[in-house]
């Protein structure tokens, strides 16, 4: 397997009033499993349905209802684990996490505390060319999502919609290996990318399909290294958990705020209380979620309605064998096979559909040229109009035609851009456009010579200047290009001008 070598980024240093501080961050990412039905019931997981219409009696926790596990949800979690190079536990079990909340009908959430489905793994988070943070995954477990409580529809009443109750979640728990807000956001982005490649989660943060609980603490320079040597977490400082973050931008802002808040307390001689907090994007601050008394006692115990989940190694191997090429592999391959920069490879592999599009454009053609066009021309244009690659009005085959035309010297780079624009707005084939609009590059030396002769004859003063200062010969090239409507092959024009001017 191809691999690029990386160095870890330097941890972010925050200067406090008195000392320098460093950050320690761990994330628990909740990813909604891509499946048709819920984890333990046959109701649909489709977003945007009428309230309480994707609800089975099991989800509503009616008396006598029982859970039955969805095999695809299990497979998706295994697939995710394999994508994070993690250990798959052939035996895992389900536990009840007991607490009261209106959008938790059972009064407990079925989760996996003691024996999760997936064990330790790792993720490589790219932070720039040659720089990446290796983040260790502690575990991934399956659990039920809760419903939605709507507090702002009425001043006195909370409305509860159970559509999301029981949807399968994968909770991906990282070790405290992340050392800065940008890293944290990039980590979430990497997980999202991997899961989108795998098809195990659509990563739609706006819909809440991917959200993170962010654990933040601050420590003094040197403390983290001590933790790495001894494994003693206490030197990392007291951490606070910021819950339910579903925006990468806000994750960074929240971490920044929280770090400064903790630093201020510590430098003032106080201690940080371990607590759960929420980020308020309007105010740009985190605030405490629960009072100290309400510390939750979840009374975890194995769910007696479910037996331990036993999966076979063969089944896991089959899933492993069918995994698609993952982002890191694809990126390394693009660099090696197409000779592109790591940066370009990153851009092209950010979304698997984009990478596939690119490879179709590049097939049998100049890879570097293809990369340049896809990244700079196509992506730029798509972004401007807020289109995804799936909505691209120009197909990979069509873009490929442009590349071919350039490679064959049939059109110049400049003309190619015009052709691209026409193809993009009209959907016509580039080859047809070039033919119909007569945009084919003029390579006929006779015609070019004639054009050069004309310009030379009409501008004797310029001829003298150019002969004295050869750099000014470019002016003639420009004139000929104008005269030929840009269709003359610039290289040929330049050669002929040079010759005719006697340079």
């Amino acid at each position: 397997m191809l691999d690029l070598t990386y160095e870890p980024p330097k941890p972010k240093v925050i200067p406090g009033a008195k000392h320098d501080w460093e950050l320690v961050i761990g994330l628990e990412v909740h990813a909604q499993v891509a499946s048709k039905a819920k984890l333990f019931s046959g109701a649909s997981t489709q977003f945007g349905a009428e309230p309480n219409s994707n609800v089975a009696f099991v989800d509503a926790a009616m008396p006598g209802m029982l859970p039955v596990i969805n095999e695809v949800c299990v497979a998706q979690a295994v697939r995710t684990g394999l994508g994070l190079k993690a250990k798959i536990n052939l035996t895992s079990a389900f536990d009840r996490k007991n607490y009261f909340y209106p959008d938790l009908p059972q009064g407990y959430q079925i989760s996996q505390l003691y024996h999760p489905l997936v064990g330790e793994g790792e993720v490589l988070v790219d932070m720039g060319p040659g720089i990446a943070r290796r983040v260790r995954i502690e575990r991934i477990h399956m659990e039920q999502d809760a419903g939605k409580s709507i507090h702002d529809m009425d001043p006195n009443v909370t409305f509860v919609d159970l559509n999301r109750t029981g949807v399968a979640l994968m909770e991906i728990v990282s070790r405290p290996d992340i050392r800065g807000p940008e890293e944290a956001a990039a980590y979430v982005g990497k997980l999202r990318q991997i899961m989108r490649y795998l098809g195990t989660c659509d990563g739609n943060m706006q819909n809440g399909n991917l959200r993170a609980d962010v654990n933040v603490s601050v420590c003094r320079p040197g403390d983290y290294e001590r933790y790495q040597e001894t494994g003693d977490h206490s030197v990392l400082g007291t951490r606070c958990e910021i819950k339910n973050m579903n925006s990468m931008r806000f994750i960074q802002a929240a971490i920044d705020y929280e770090a400064r808040r903790q630093i201020q307390i510590l430098e003032g001689g106080g201690t940080v209380d371990q607590e759960t907090r929420l980020y308020d994007p309007d105010r740009g601050e985190t605030r405490s979620m629960r009072s100290k008394e309400e510390a939750h006692d979840y009374r975890y115990f194995p769910d007696p309605d479910l037996l331990p989940l036993e999966i076979e190694q063969d089944w896991v191997d089959d899933i492993a064998g069918a995994l698609p090429e993952l982002p890191d592999q694809k990126k390394a391959r693009f660099v090696a096979d197409y000779g592109m920069t790591e940066y370009d490879a990153s851009v092209l592999t950010a979304e698997v559909e984009n990478a596939a599009f690119f490879e179709e454009v590049a097939r049998g053609r100049d890879g570097k040229l293809a990369a340049n066009w896809v990244i700079n021309e196509l992506f730029g244009r798509l972004k401007k109009e807020d289109h995804s690659i799936a909505e691209s009005p120009i197909s990979a085959a069509q873009l490929g035609q442009i590349i071919e035309l350039i490679q064959a010297d049939a059109i110049s780079g400049k003309i190619a851009k015009e052709v691209f624009e026409i193809a993009y707005t009209s959907g016509r084939d580039p080859a047809e456009i070039v033919e119909t609009e007569g945009l084919k590059q003029v390579t006929d030396t006779g015609a070019i010579e004639a054009a050069v002769d004309e310009v030379i004859a009409a501008n004797p003063a310029q001829v003298e200047k150019a002969q004295a200062n050869p750099k000014l010969a470019g002016w003639f090239v420009g004139q000929v290009m104008k005269a030929t409507g840009g269709k003359a092959n610039p290289k040929a024009v330049n050669e002929i001008v040079q010759t005719k001017l006697g340079l």
């Binding site: 009696f57 509503a60 926790a61 009616m62 008396p63 006598g64 209802m65 029982l66 859970p67 039955v68 596990i69 009840r96 007991n98 009261f100 209106p102 009908p105 059972q106 009064g107 407990y108 909370t158 509860v160 006692d297 009374r299 975890y300 115990f301 007696p304 309605d305 479910l306 037996l307």
Partner: protein, 497 residues
């Protein structure tokens, strides 16, 4: 006379329905009359005469049809209030489910319905199946049709399936469904002189039955005799995909196993069941039962189940723990009763008041004990420890079965039925001791059956329990059949209601 119709066993009714001797409508009407005249027993708490007659008529049509109708077709039965029955109040005898009418039918009651059985109504029980005397019901106590000789004291029919037991014993229906978590079928059967069987854990689906303790609950039939139990159990069990703890095993023909021949079978008498202070009558009955089985050709041996005495304490950790979690859903949000709230009450107040008003005292107590044993710092000391003891209890049985024992004979209860209200002053543990012979069976997940075997000096029925190997209900029923024939118990309670 219509009264005589209600005295028919399921087997007899089945034959006479097919012979054209009697119709399901006639049977049903006879039961409905008997029920209406028996309000003093407070066994039926929701009567469903219209549904009953509809189903009876449909059953009669089906019996006329060309296809062979199932054994339970046309048989009028009662359904314990713990089973969710579509469109019909299903309250688990609790105030907190006041008004709840499920939009679905439990698998077990649906199977009976599909077989053509006629639901007469819902039966009284201890609230949320937590109790051994049917004294915790929101509907009021159920009453045992049996009375002590010359004594009009109202007696308990046992619990939690007290209404079921009372109804069958008083000939209000030909059979009834019960559930058994720590003895709730077997103990009331013994108190009322009828037969009740709890099958192996996983034989019957739990889907649609209000959950009390998930790893212990099982549904089962309560009937006049062993043959009826075999017939009704057949219709109730089977794999259900909707219940992950339901066993994917074929259901053998239980009735076909009733040969009465137990020659060469090995019956064990566990010495640890001989408890201190055990009433002499119970000891004698047990010994008599052993003798009867010996006479029938079985080999009777002494065995040891060393961890027996820890079964009750283990049960009273595990069952409340699971219950505390299973009952968390009763919160006034989606169904049942919600407390009236004061100005300024938020959702926490709503939960607290709803549950305080909706749950009876025994339920509250068990939910809180369960909450406590699972709470931070105590999980290992209580719950985990209890589960380990449970492993040992199960192992005791496995050892004995591995040694060649086919079934185990024990008393069903430590006494005959006691008076209603008699135990109200005692501490809660005294009531729990009623289950001392039965809880081991739920902890080990084994099948167990209670068969009426004699009367005590006051004329009250006493039962004997047989415990079988996992999945071998057929053999167990046959052993019970032999015991039943030998015991020859035919007494019925004298009608006072």
């Amino acid at each position: 006379m219509t009264n005589d119709l209600t005295k028919l066993t399921i087997a007899e009714a089945r034959d006479r329905l097919r012979a054209g001797d009697v119709t399901s409508v006639e049977l049903t009407e006879a039961c409905l009359s008997a029920i209406d005249a028996a309000d003093a027993l407070n066994a039926f708490v929701h009567k469903t005469p219209e549904i009953a007659l509809d189903r009876a008529r449909a059953a009669d049509e089906r019996l006329q049809g060309r296809e062979e109708a199932p054994a339970m077709c046309g048989i009028p039965i009662g359904i314990k209030d713990l089973f969710c029955t579509e469109g019909v109040p299903s309250q688990a005898a609790s105030r907190i489910l006041d008004g709840f009418r499920p939009e679905y039918e439990s698998t077990v009651s649906r199977q009976l319905k599909d077989a053509g059985a006629v639901m007469l109504g819902k039966l009284n029980m201890d609230e949320f199946a937590m109790g051994s005397s049917n004294e915790t019901s929101v509907y009021g106590d159920a009453v045992n049709p049996w009375r002590r000789e010359g004594d009009a004291t109202r007696l308990t029919p046992g619990g939690s399936s007290g209404g079921s037991a009372s109804a069958v014993a008083a000939d209000l229906c030909l059979g009834a469904t019960g559930t058994d978590t720590g003895g709730s079928i077997r103990q009331p059967a013994a108190f009322t002189g009828i037969t009740g069987i709890k099958p192996t854990y996983g034989r019957c689906s739990r889907w649609g039955i209000v959950a009390f303790a998930s790893s212990l609950d099982q549904a089962g039939p309560m009937t006049r005799d062993v043959r009826d139990a075999a017939i009704m159990l057949q219709a109730m069990c089977g794999h259900d995909m909707k219940d992950s703890t339901s066993a994917d095993l074929a259901v053998p023909d239980f009735e076909a196993a009733l040969t009465g021949d137990i020659k060469g079978r090995k019956i064990g008498l566990p010495r640890e069941y001989r408890m201190e202070g055990m009433p002499a009558e119970i000891e004698k009955l047990w010994a008599d039962g052993a003798e009867m089985l010996r006479d029938a050709g079985a080999e009777v041996v002494d065995i040891s189940l060393p961890h027996t005495k820890y079964a009750l304490p283990a049960y009273y950790v595990i069952a409340p723990a699971e219950a505390s979690s299973n009952l968390a859903r009763y919160d006034g949000v989606r169904y049942g009763r919600r407390a009236k709230l004061a100005q300024g009450d938020g959702v926490v107040e709503m939960y607290e008041k709803t549950r305080a008003e909706g749950f009876g005292h025994e339920v509250q107590r068990r939910v809180m004990v369960g909450t406590y044993v699972l709470s931070a710092g105590f999980y290992d000391a209580y719950y985990n420890r209890a589960r380990k003891v449970r492993t040992l209890i199960k192992r005791d049985f496995e050892q004995v079965f591995a040694d060649g024992v086919d079934a185990i004979l024990t008393p069903a209860t430590p006494s005959a039925a006691f008076g209603l209200g008699e135990m109200s002053e005692s501490d809660p543990v005294q009531m729990y001791l009623n289950d001392v012979f039965t809880v081991t069976v739920n902890l080990a997940g084994l099948p167990g059956i209670s068969v009426p075997a004699g009367l005590d000096t006051q004329g009250l029925p006493l039962g004997l329990q047989l415990i079988g190997r996992p999945w071998e209900e057929a053999a167990l029923l046959n052993g019970a059949y032999a015991l039943e024939r030998a015991a020859g118990f035919v007494s019925k309670p004298a009608k006072w209601w």
